[in-house]
């Protein structure tokens, strides 16, 4: 009986670790750079998951722009995000990588912002 009780508490102690393994791979707070030629601009994303549907904001805070769409293709981990920002229409089109990492998960690809275009590299915070 005593041993079973101990096993129960041991399992309970591990449960937090197990719960931490779940969640949508795009969910969370992301930060990185948009790069166009020699210019670079800081960008932050806040992505949430509601029953598999992604939503969120570009540059969350006082001047946040709500995402119009955020679609992840799980066959190749391509994530496309669209938003209307004060600087123009923003489209991020790239791939998620390092999905097993909580500290170095990347979202890398190409972007357009109004008439400007370039590449981006964003990391999960």
């Amino acid at each position: 009986m005593f041993a079973r009780l101990l096993m129960f508490f041991a399992a309970l102690g591990l449960s937090a670790t197990l719960v931490a393994q779940t969640g949508h791979p795009a969910k969370g707070s992301w930060s990185g750079q948009l790069s166009s030629g020699s210019e670079s601009t800081r960008i932050r994303l806040l992505i949430d998951d509601h029953n598999g549907e992604l939503m969120g904001a570009v540059n969350p805070g006082r001047n946040a722009s709500e995402m119009k769409s955020a679609v992840l293709d799980a066959t190749d981990w391509n994530l496309k995000i669209e938003a209307t920002t004060p600087e123009g229409e923003l489209v991020l089109d790239g791939k998620l990588s390092n999905l097993g990492s909580w500290t170095n998960r990347k979202y890398i690809g190409n972007y357009t912002l109004g008439s400007e275009s370039g590449t981006f590299e964003i990391t999960l915070n």
Binding site: R42, R44, G61
Partner: protein, 147 residues
């Protein structure tokens, strides 16, 4: 058989608790109480974990480069006793955090106060620095409410 099971369960319990035990430390071992910092930036993440809550902030340094700071606060219980909730600091909130820097010079600090840039509201961060006094009557310097 029972003895082996008990020993195994005790080992697993000990192993699962070790991360939290390691995270607990004395203030003076990690932070220099004389190395004051003021970090003005945007919240990118808040980890409500025991024994310390951590707030992560992106801030520009004097050269204009973005730095990512990790700032230790009190325990979740300690913060809630001071009026904090899990929604007090949302991602993207602009803050000014005053505190002390890590002894190793990394971008890590111990937060004493968190000031919301929007309205200059000051909140105490439950620092473990023993000689820090939470003076409610002290003014908030270096903050102008944003329109």
């Amino acid at each position: 058989m029972n003895t082996k099971l008990i020993a195994l369960a005790a080992f697993v319990l000990g192993a699962s608790a070790s991360a939290q035990v390691l995270a607990h430390h004395s203030f003076a071992a990690e932070f220099d109480g004389n190395a004051k910092i003021s970090v003005h930036g945007v919240v990118t993440k808040v980890d409500w974990t025991n024994p310390h809550t951590y707030i992560y902030v992106e801030a520009e340094n004097e050269a204009g480069d973005v730095e990512e700071w990790a700032l230790e606060m009190g325990s979740p219980n300690g913060l809630m006793r001071r009026g904090w909730t899990r929604n007090t600091l949302e991602i993207g909130t602009e803050v000014i955090i005053e505190g002390t820097r890590a002894r190793d010079g990394s971008l890590k600090g111990n937060a004493q106060t968190v000031i919301l840039a929007e309205n200059c509201q000051r909140m105490f961060a439950g620092t473990s620095q023993r000689d820090f006094v939470e003076d409610e009557s002290a003014g908030v310097e270096g903050c102008t409410p944003q329109g």
